[in-house]
């Protein structure tokens, strides 16, 4: 493999992979401690998709996210403090504690938000792309969706609109092979989900979603072609969750051998390997990154813990008469 990647670039990728890993791992702990409530859908095992795609985006670009949205938020450069505050329901959070994990958004970076409705953000992303073009901007919108999300009719509708209007949309299907417990092969007769694109006149491709460089390269090509007016495109990134659907799902329906298979190509493991083998980083350097991330994470948790509770009085005043 020729190596067109700089050490700095590979370091950046790995730092993000590891940040997501650390963030989710810590969130699960916080959940078990009762500091996070509601639903928590960890992104563990899928880190390379958010990181690879977001590395291919520029500052002017948009993304729409899913119910499993922490990874997209982090990969798009969100502040861990405000994320942690949000997920623990604090006023200092991105959404003032009103949104939580399933609604985390960072509009300042074009992250239009996670979504509690599977498929809910798909059409919204197409709208962002249309809007950008109308405003003369060079933006692309990455629409993250899932093997479940493509089953919702708005996937076909939105893909069709984006194609009919030649919009710069990159649909990213994170095929982790399950919608909760339903295997994708039971959800559809054609489990190669990218194949749906052709029927709408759209180019698509299935890639290894655990391989951050493969994700990055594919996304970079499609983003470039989107900017050249050739969009939309579809990426189906094959991947696998580390564990169950959410923090309380034991995932007993996931066969051990499959878990094992994907653990061997864990996105963080691969990312570390790229950094060392292609970037020439030393084990110490890797450890330093991880320590750095850990510290940022500790700091974020501390920030969230100390951050004041949102008050009911403020809330009532804010919602006022009519919301």
């Amino acid at each position: 493999m020729a190596n067109p990647y700089s050490k700095a670039f590979l370091t950046g990728l790995y730092r993000q992979l590891w940040t997501i890993r650390a963030f989710e791992t810590r969130c699960i702990q916080l959940y078990r401690q009762g500091l996070i409530r509601g639903y928590l859908h960890p992104y563990l095992g899928q880190e390379a998709i958010a990181v690879g795609v977001c590395a291919a985006l520029g500052p002017q670009d948009y993304l729409t996210s899913t119910h499993r949205g922490h990874g997209h938020c982090i990969a798009r450069g969100a502040d861990l403090r405000r994320m942690t505050a949000e997920i623990t329901g604090k006023q200092a959070g991105y959404c003032q504690g009103r949104g939580g994990s399933m609604h985390i958004a960072d509009m300042s970076q074009g992250n239009l938000g996670a979504n509690g409705i599977v498929g809910g953000g798909t059409a919204i992303g197409v709208g962002a792309a249309l809007s950008a073009r109308m405003q003369g901007k060079d933006s692309v919108c990455a629409v993250f969706t899932s093997d479940g999300g493509v089953m919702n009719g708005t996937f076909g509708e939105s893909l069709n609109l984006a194609a009919a209007w030649d919009l710069p949309v990159l649909f990213v299907i994170e095929n982790n092979q399950y919608a909760v417990s339903l295997p994708v092969r039971e959800a559809t007769r054609e489990p190669e989900l990218y194949k749906r694109a052709a029927g709408y006149g759209v180019e698509g491709r299935r890639i290894n979603g655990n391989h951050v460089l493969e994700v990055y390269e594919t996304a970079a090509e499609y983003v470039r072609r989107c900017r050249a007016g050739e969009g939309p495109f579809v990426i189906e990134a094959l991947t696998y969750r580390h564990a169950g659907h959410h923090v309380n799902d034991p995932g007993t329906y996931m066969p051990e051998d499959q878990k094992e298979h994907y653990r061997k190509m864990d996105p963080c493991l691969l990312g570390r390997q790229f950094l060392i083998e292609l970037g020439g980083a030393s084990c110490e350097e890797v450890a330093a990154i991880e320590a750095d991330v850990q510290q940022a994470m500790d700091d974020a948790v501390e920030f969230a813990r100390q951050s004041p509770e949102t008050t009911i009085e403020d809330f009532l005043e804010q919602i006022g008469g009519d919301q």
């Binding site: 959404c95 300042s108 239009l112 919204i124 509708e157």
Partner: protein, 346 residues
């Protein structure tokens, strides 16, 4: 007589250009806003060259081009979502859903996305989207093209609901809706498009959302009505006047936000209330208005509030049955007589 606030008086007092059709007034509102603000655009089915099923968008494609007057395929949920995405990123889309019946296809996008994004993101974003649609019975279009569904939107926090009854209101409210930062469900009525009325010929004629209007003053009974029930109530009021009953016709114009004070002031004056609603009786907006009035003006009422509403049934195709299902002039007159204790006249 009008309850329009001071800053609109100029408009009221200015010379009118004769009479304008409701659909023309809407068309003017769209054209003016699109001229004023390049961020305003329209999308929907058959709104381009064809000018819309009710001709509200006629001429817009010629003036503003296909880039801002976008014909969509039959994919309501997604093109509404496209509107939301555009609104979140700096545009001011006006999405048209041909019949309010078809808004059932976009409920997720409206209820779970548009209405909630601002709240869920802790005020990071606004959704300045207008969803224009059209409802009501009266043309023999049967159960899937004749519903009055404002109550469904009225119940969802985060949405505004506007239902103009005259050309002037249509224009002034549509312009205000387009400039509003919240998602607005703007509901027209299929029987009103060809009605005519004066429209102030002033620049930027606007009616603030949340301001109702007294469409007729009267001392004996308050008739609360909106959309196509306003002209019908006015016609009933004219007949009642011949019997010596002076009805006050209050048109809230916007159901959310609601001009409660205007309604309550009228109720306190007349002490008798009839609410006229085209939508089916059960769970309609009229019930909510009644619940507010009885809570806030209980001591002024000397009898129950009457609701004249559509029957609890889907709308039948047959024209005679159709008109039996929605309030007619005679139903309003009978209800007024009833609340005034003139049962002898029934």
């Amino acid at each position: 007589m009008s309850a329009t606030p001071p800053h609109d008086l100029r408009a009221r007092h200015s010379s009118h250009r004769g009479r304008v059709q409701y659909r023309t007034a809407l068309n003017e509102a769209l054209a003016e806003e699109m001229r004023r603000d390049p961020k305003v655009f329209v999308l929907g089915e058959g709104i381009g060259e064809r000018g819309g099923s009710y001709k509200v968008t006629q001429g817009l494609r010629a003036e503003f081009g296909a880039g801002r007057v976008i014909d969509t395929p039959l994919a309501e949920a997604s093109f509404t979502g496209v509107g939301i995405g555009a609104a979140l990123t700096g545009m001011r889309p006006v999405v048209e859903i041909l019949f309010i019946d078809f808004t059932m296809l976009v409920m997720d996008q409206i209820v779970n996305q548009a209405a909630k994004v601002r709240f869920m993101t802790g005020n990071q974003a606004r959704v300045p989207l207008v969803l224009r649609t059209q409802g009501g019975a009266g043309n023999g279009l049967a159960a899937q093209h004749s519903q009055s569904l404002e109550a469904l939107f009225y119940h969802i926090p985060g949405l505004k609901v506007v239902m103009p009854s005259t050309p002037a209101d249509a224009k002034g409210l549509l312009k205000a809706s387009i400039r509003d930062d919240s998602p607005v469900i703007f509901i027209e009525h299929k029987l009103l498009y060809l009605t005519e009325g004066p429209v102030p010929a002033v620049e930027d004629y606007m009616i603030p959302l949340g301001k109702g209007d007294i469409k007729r003053t009267g001392r004996d009974v308050t008739l609360i009505a909106w959309s196509n029930m306003v002209p019908r109530s006015l016609a009933a009021a004219d007949k009642l006047a011949a019997e010596g009953i002076e009805a006050e016709v209050v048109d809230p114009r916007t159901l959310v936000p609601l001009d409660e004070e205007l309604i309550l002031a009228s109720v306190r004056k007349t002490e008798h209330v009839v609410i006229v609603q085209e939508a089916v009786r059960r769970g309609g907006v009229a019930s909510d208005l009644a619940s507010i009035i009885q809570a806030k003006a209980f001591d002024y009422l000397d009898g129950p509030i009457e609701i004249v509403a559509g029957l609890n049934t889907p709308i039948p195709f047959n024209l005679a049955l159709e008109s039996a299902c929605v309030p007619q002039e005679a139903d309003i007159i009978r209800a007024v007589r009833r609340v005034l204790g003139r049962n002898a006249c029934l």
